[in-house]
Amino acid sequence: MTDTPFTIAGRTFSSRLIVGSGKYPSHAVMTQAIDASGAEIVTVAVRRVDLAARGGESLRDYLEARQLFVLPNTAGCYTVDDAVRTARLAREAGLSNWVKLEVIGDERTLFPDTEALVVATRILVSEGFVVLPYTNDDPIVCRKLEDAGAAAVMPLGAPIGSGLGIQNENNIRIICEFATVPVIVDAGVGTASEAARAMELGVDGVMMQTAIAQAQDPVAMADAMKHAVLAGRLAYRAGRIPRKMYATASSPVEGLIGT
């Protein structure tokens, strides 16, 4: 069955799984895990250079060697101003004008400040950025982000790093139905079945970091996630059977002996 391509802002990607590049036990494990995930888009953070330490270049060397698509984020930004400044620096440091936009509203939940997010999206779109905002699982906010020019919307499945799975499946479904841009579930996935579940709901892609990086075996989990996203997508396209309360026999009822 031929799938429609996964295309964001006119650019088509081979994998519907997007992975982060932080929180791995080591650089070696990170590179093996990202390789195993099959992901083509990898997120990075923008931070002040460490003037005391050297050797932080290995991440970028790896990403460039594999020709991965680097998606900088504005993680850790709590204001429109900081997020916009960080996005501008990311564009200057990188090769593209794409940004995974985060404007965080609360330290404990890391839930987005959706009001600020819409404002920051509008500013960055006007400056020529391709903006992928990390947002709530709120269809109305997603619609506002789309109206503001977002190239995709990235609703959370559950709080960042929580591994709780998709908390509001119905909202994710509604977001998919409303959206005319790709929907990427970002955050909340804990294990492979949850990634598959997200894809079965009809989202275009899944983004994760902690579920892979902090798994006991990140490389194996990355492989599992690759298959989960593929399986979930296939199942979504294949169309599941309706749920029924009672059994329907799987074997013919004709030709039974003893009747």
Partner: protein, 66 residues
């Protein structure tokens, strides 16, 4: 003279270009982006941008993140 570099006070003997500052800090210019007094300064203007007393610079790069 003193500047603010990545949020911290930093001493310089005399004004110098952004290019020279990167060399002094032993930073690979291809790997960083710079905000100079709250505005991005692009690579082509690094050589002629002179860092002066009281200037605020942010020098960033990419690190692992999700």
């Amino acid at each position: 003279m003193q500047i603010t570099l990545n949020g911290e006070p930093y001493e310089l003997d005399q004004p110098l270009s952004v290019d020279d500052l990167l060399a002094r800090l032993d930073l690979d210019p291809r790997r960083v982006a710079i905000e100079y007094n709250l505005s991005i300064i692009r690579r082509p203007v690094w050589p002629q941008t002179i860092v002066q007393e009281g200037d605020r610079l942010e020098i960033v790069n990419f690190v692992g993140g999700g």
